[in-house]
């Protein structure tokens, strides 16, 4: 299992559309992915879970990935939320 602290740089934060894309990205990997914000944890493969965290730009998250493709999954998800447009 790998764990990483990430700051969200995506300008809009995870609004509905980016959240859906984030979840879609997470679902491409077979590893289990969890996102934690302020002590609240949600499954990154569940759109409602991610949206319930109401992640804004600048928020600090802990992403934990567990599975055989964890390294790629972490890289892709980190790239997604640290992307600045």
């Amino acid at each position: 299992m790998i764990e990483k602290k990430v700051t969200v740089l995506l300008k809009t934060g995870l609004q509905a559309r980016p959240a859906a894309l984030f979840v879609q990205e997470a679902n491409r990997y077979s590893s289990t992915v969890f996102v934690e914000k302020d002590g609240k944890k949600a499954n990154a493969k569940s759109i409602m879970g991610i949206m319930s965290l109401a992640i804004r730009s600048g928020a600090d998250l802990t992403i934990s990935v567990d599975g055989h493709d964890e390294a790629e999954a972490m890289k892709a998800l980190e790239a997604f939320i640290t992307e600045q447009e």
Binding site: K40, S46, M48, G49, A54
Partner: protein, 311 residues
């Protein structure tokens, strides 16, 4: 670690803030309440400063009978940097020395009409539920015939679809996808939805739907005690599934063991009906009717009876 700010108590119980406004963002980390009777009498060795302090008629009368100098000293000692607040009950008058001590230390002094015992029990209840250990799990919580059933399973196994069919059959949705669970007391786990997504359900292909506006207020609940967990998993032909229902497996959430059933998912299995029956069967068992056990007893009798016939 959960915490409550003093301001939340003021809002919740409509307390009158008498003094110490700068301290209303102090945090309360324990549900214990202190009535500092021994402390005002001079014994501060075990003074639980981190608790909300309650001054009632007894304490205040005792204080009023002290000399002004002693009163000033003791009340100043009550107001520490840690103290989240002092509440006066029965709308009694706040001693002047306490106001001065509060202004010096920034401890909020609040007042209410309630009697001390009543206030104390309401405060404890509120703080206990707010400070209860909490966790969030991935799953769907549905109230089926009054039984709180938490449906778990991997993403895409069909939890939300099953919940939708259960709602269609007249049951109530509590939370979809993410359930916040609080340890109310040793035996009780209460699940509720994160506020942002309450009443909502996500169905692949449809998107987000609002169960309350679609099916009415009767189709939702805001919280529910969790009694049973149903774990959905794709059918694995190598795995052994329970065929008898004689043994009860449990899963630990926070500090409580909850009965869990594993249901294999396969096209053509109507999960909503199976889960509905599981909930009913669970109720029946709790009322002392265990079909599997009764059958087992009958079978054992039949076998021993046929043994007797042989000899």
């Amino acid at each position: 670690m959960a915490k409550v700010h003093t301001k939340e108590l003021i809002d919740k119980f409509q307390l009158e803030l008498v003094s110490g406004e700068e301290g209303i963002h102090r945090t309360i980390t324990t549900s214990d309440i202190s009535r500092p009777g021994l402390e005002v009498a001079g014994y501060f060795t075990y003074y639980p400063a981190e608790r909300i302090q309650l001054l009632g008629k007894t304490e205040l009368t005792f204080i009023s009978e002290m000399s002004a100098e002693l009163r000033k000293e003791r009340l100043a000692q009550l107001c520490t940097d840690e103290t989240p607040g002092i509440i006066i009950s029965r709308d009694l008058e706040v001693p002047n020395e306490l106001l001065l001590a509060s202004q010096a230390s920034g401890v909020p002094i609040m007042r209410t009409k309630m009697t001390t015992t009543r206030l104390s029990s309401r405060l404890t209840n509120y703080l206990e539920s707010r400070l209860a250990p909490m966790t969030a799990v991935h799953g769907v919580l549905v109230d089926i015939y009054g039984i709180g059933v938490l449906i778990k399973g991997d993403s895409g196994v069909g939890k939300s679809e099953t919940a939708l069919e259960l709602v269609k059959r007249g049951h109530r949705l509590v939370a979809d996808d993410s359930v916040e669970i609080r340890q109310q007391d040793e035996e009780t786990l209460v699940g509720s939805p994160p506020e942002l997504i309450q009443h909502l359900l996500e169905i692949r292909g449809l998107g987000i739907i609002n169960v309350m506006t679609l099916f009415g207020a009767g189709a939702i609940r805001n919280y529910k005690k969790i009694s049973l967990i149903i774990h959905l998993e794709t059918w694995d032909s190598k795995k052994v599934y329970d065929r008898l229902g004689l043994d009860e497996e449990t899963m630990r959430i926070l500090e409580t063991d909850v009965p869990i059933l594993t249901l294999p998912v396969r096209p053509g299995r109507n999960l909503a009906v199976i889960i509905e029956v599981a909930a009913m069967n669970f109720r029946l068992k709790r009322m002392g009717m265990n079909a599997a056990q009764q059958f087992n007893d009958r079978l054992t009798d039949a076998i021993s009876a046929s043994d007797e016939e042989v000899f």
